[in-house]
């Protein structure tokens, strides 16, 4: 009798047993299934945030995870870039660029890479010998970019792809970056952590852009504190490097107005706090949003398809901003290079 019953419901029993095994193995994951965590559909995180909302998920499970740039001992190619990549998009698209470009020109009316820094706008706390100005691509030969999916895009579609080094991965956060195993090593399957990589290779500049994934968690204080700790650790590892804090890129107004935690107000608050971490000597804050935002204070609609990531075509705006706003010591990038020996 019992046996017949067991046989009759065999699939249900198998399902239950595998379920118990699964629950045993994934107890913390299943906590998400508690009633109070079930949010009605309307308030649920929209699907397009898949690239961002990866807190708690293991990076290994993400097929889109990327590590870009040359790894530790990769050779550098300088100067050689695809001409098409550095040019601004076609004329018809240039019109909307007007305001942001003008903005940055007013700030840094330096003509070209050879620029002498005359008239360059000083940082809020002016150090006599430090000015911000225009540099060319070779400036980035010893630059490292740390970041999330947005920096992945920069490293994949920007003209700096083959010049700078990128330790970036989708879903990256400031909390994870130091110990994230995202750096590829040639001839080696296993990736190494950012920390390990930085013990082996030195950089002259470190650009950081992270924070969109973190907007929903912690407070501005806790986020800024963690950010500061990462910078401190980077400075221990790379005492000579200039550290650029790139302000968190905003999202489009439409995306911001969706009503979840990803909104431009929250990003603005955090950027304000990040800008306070700059010391004007070794740590600088870059308001990249100037280059890509419209009068609504959000990312220009046409520059993005998901409201969050810049399209490949517009990555060049970001790059141009970085080129226009590099630290020049005593006015010239060459001297800056000399003062900050890289390798």
């Amino acid at each position: 009798m019992t046996l017949r019953w067991l046989k009759r419901w065999s699939f249900m029993i198998i399902l239950a047993i595998t379920g118990i095994v699964y629950c045993g193995a994934n107890r913390d994951l299943l906590e998400v299934t508690h009633w109070e965590n079930l949010i009605p559909v309307g308030e649920r995180k929209p699907e397009e945030d898949w690239m961002l909302l990866r807190e708690g998920s293991s990076p290994e499970s993400m097929p889109e995870e990327l590590t870009l740039g040359k790894a530790v001992s990769g050779e550098r190619r300088t100067g050689e870039t695809d001409q098409a990549l550095t040019e601004l998009p076609e004329a018809e698209d240039q019109e909307p660029f007007g305001p942001p470009l003008l903005d940055s020109e007013q700030q840094t009316p330096v003509t070209s890479g050879e620029g002498d820094g005359e008239g360059a706008m000083p940082e809020p706390e002016p150090e006599p010998e430090i000015v911000m100005g225009r540099v060319e691509e070779d400036y980035f030969a010893d630059a490292l970019f740390l970041g999330d999916s947005r920096t992945v895009g920069l490293g994949q579609y920007g003209s700096l792809r083959d010049i700078a080094t990128f330790y970036a991965s989708t879903g990256m956060t400031i909390y994870k970056i130091i110990n994230a195993e995202i750096v590829e090593v040639p001839d080696q399957q296993e990736k190494i952590t950012v920390e390990e990589a930085l013990q082996h290779q030195s950089f002259g500049k470190i650009y950081i852009m992270m924070g969109i994934n973190e907007v929903g968690s912690g407070t501005t204080e806790s986020f800024t504190k963690a950010y500061g700790e990462v910078i401190a650790r980077l400075q221990e590892l790379q005492p000579d490097a200039i550290i650029y804090i790139e302000g968190i890129l905003k999202v489009t107004k439409a995306r911001s107005d969706k009503g979840d935690y990803i909104n431009n107000e929250a990003i603005g608050v955090r950027n304000e706090a990040l800008s306070q971490l700059a010391d004007g000597e070794k740590i600088f804050y870059l308001d990249v949003n100037q280059a890509v935002c419209d009068e609504d204070g959000g990312l220009v609609k046409d520059y993005t398809s998901d409201g969050v990531h810049l399209k490949a075509k517009y990555i060049t705006l970001w790059e141009e901003y970085l080129k226009d706003n590099a630290v020049l010591i005593d006015g010239g990038p060459e001297e800056a290079e000399e003062q900050l020996p890289s390798e």
Partner: protein
Amino acid sequence: MVFSSIEFLLYFLPIFILVYMIVPQKFKNAVLVLGSMVFYAYGDLRGLGLLVVSTAVNYVFARMIRGRIGLVAALAVNIGMLILFKYYQGGAVLPLGISFYTFQIVSYLVDVYRGEYTAERNFLDFAAYVMMFPKLVMGPITGYGELRRQLHRRRCDAECMQDGLKLFILGLCGKVLLADRLALLWHEVQVTGYESISTPLAWIAAVAYSLQLYFDFAGYSVMAMGLGRMLGFKLPENFRQPYMASSMREFYRRWHMSLGNWFCKYVYIPLGGSRRGEFRTIFNLLVVWLLTSLWHGITGNFLIWGMGICLLIILERQVGRLWKFITGDRRGNKVRGPASLVCHAYLLAVVPVTWVCFAVTDLGQLEIYLSRMFGLGSPVAMYVGDWQKALNDYGLLLGAGIVASTPLARWIYQKLERKWPGMILLAAGFWFCIHRILLQGDNPFLYLNF
């Protein structure tokens, strides 16, 4: 509530099934209606009122319909509502599943008018037909005639329950393990911008989208069938390995079959089908495909999609006629031998292009995408190795998707479904899907807005 969500899988379904199993036969339809209302309200509370009113009104309509004028009036109300909500809603959210349940109600009214069956007397049974949650939101569009007997009496035991559950898990795996993950590639291409992708990537992404759409919708349909079976209903098959077809005509006899059958029965045949000469047939096909395009959406891309397919179907007809004329072959439409390989290749090359037209709603963007597919114009900020990276990241998934769209997958399922290893695999598959959903969050089905 979508099927592939934690709320549905771990809360709604087990609780509902338990209650449904316990209550006696005569209360099962009431439980089904109530459960379906909860299911619907969770996804679209505001639309629930419309659904209930629509059900009640049409229950009365069907019992009142006498002449042609009555039918036309009843249809006008239903189709008017659909058009109103679908096309003049001014940005508001479309009531969940309205395209699907309206079509079912229309089929019911017409069938009653035609005398295929009498109008349902029991309101609860009729409500169960319209609202049953397995097919409420995304079909299959099922005629009342197919379910009539089961609505009054059906077998619902351990065997049905478990067979249905297995089928449901199969569909769930297709949705969660294939569609949702392939969707990432399409999303990546969107994020990058179509003007910056290489021609090989444009094709790879189009294939990925074709597979994603298939496993998303076919997965949903299989889940619906499985749920129906768990409750004792036999819902019709909605997909029959469409990518194995050798012509557009055949493709749409295998893809979303319940919609195709609906248009065939209520539009194409009444217009005269293919029995009134070639010109009339072409006209009828145009009408059907125009309506099919509109049903999917009113943006221009759907018109391009539908009219493109219609054009191909018409051309296929002409080539077929020519072929028959030359060879004198009168055995039918099916091409045999080596020539069939050419037909398959043609279909597989054309279908991804039609799906791109379906997917990209902005016409300017569509033009860019198509020009990338055919290597026209020059890309902006392209990363030359993008397609190798895509193959590297998604090659395995694409391969799995391709294999799973052949009859092989079905064959294996039927072989193993009742054996121990197969059952363990399915059970593990269920929990693996749960695991994936917890990691990725659920994303609504692509078809939900149509």
